[in-house]
Subunit: 147 residues, 2 copies
DNA sequence: GTGTTTGCAAACGTTTTGCACAGGT
DNA sequence: ACCTGTGCAAAACGTTTGCAAACAC
């Protein structure tokens, strides 16, 4: 839902969107901050957050509020799902998302009017599957099972 | 995965679990803190957090890390899904959870070994459906669409 | 010129942690 | 006696906000 407010195309805003669209890594605000700072050394973290909010409002970026972790951002706004690696914490897109095997309508909705759902998968990424049990859980902490 | 550590049945731990099992409201740590404090006036919030962590580790409580909100806790450990009301913020259980209409296996998993998924629904609770557009979004802030 | 946006720093809400002491086993 | 668990307070973390100055339009 694009806001009706007048937006200004500041260099900060453009570089943020540009950086976000240039990666498939779903960066956090802090990671984006580091990336943008390389081009605009004087940006502040507050500016990153404010612009991400604006860009989200206007439909240019997606917010990925994955369970138990900082918010990540996605320059691809088309609907798709995500997987998180419980070992290294990386987040990847799932291709071929809405499929006949992926039907998500509760049968009994407890009287709620269901407007949508949020679905995320977790598991081991290709890299972390290579028999290495002793791998450090790096970027983010892994979760304890359950869904 | 119950830890192999020796646990002590302290009054604090028991009251916390008792309070959690006595409600269907999926309280936050702060709400639980208030409830437990009525019975044990000297508990600290730190104790609540530490015990919830232990109880979670031992499989007695479920952690509900719903997108963009504080963690809530659930005394019912059997697998089931949840709905959040985007207006008042309340969280309810979804009965009849794993159904033929609720199949969640990605067709293409991008090379990940999928261990599970997290699924949450959002919409309007029965109370908030009663034509009251002007209702205050109270307990927690509502979300901006997208899934 | 007007009103949005910026940088900075301080504040926020939630959760975690360090510590000395209390208390279960 | 041992070592887990407690209360307290402070810190950590990600995020938001107030403000005066800067700047896009």
């Amino acid at each position: 839902m694009p806001s009706n407010k007048i937006r200004r195309n500041t260099p900060q805003r453009m570089v943020i969107l540009q950086e976000l669209c240039a990666t498939k890594e779903h960066p956090t605000a802090a990671e984006l901050f580091a990336a943008v700072r390389r081009k605009l050394p004087r940006v502040s973290l507050g500016t990153i957050y404010r612009n991400l909010e604006v860009l989200h409002e206007d439909g240019f970026v997606r917010k990925l509020e994955l369970a138990g972790h900082e918010t990540r951002f996605d320059g691809t706004t088309a609907p798709h799902y995500h997987v998180r690696c419980t070992s290294c914490g990386c987040v990847r897109d799932l291709p071929a998302p809405l499929h006949d095997k992926l039907v998500t309508q509760p049968v009994d909705s407890a009287g709620f009017r269901i407007d949508g759902h949020r679905l995320e998968f977790y598991g081991l990424c290709p890299g972390c599957q290579q028999g290495d049990m002793g791998r450090m859980p790096v970027p983010d902490m892994p979760e304890h099972g359950s869904h």
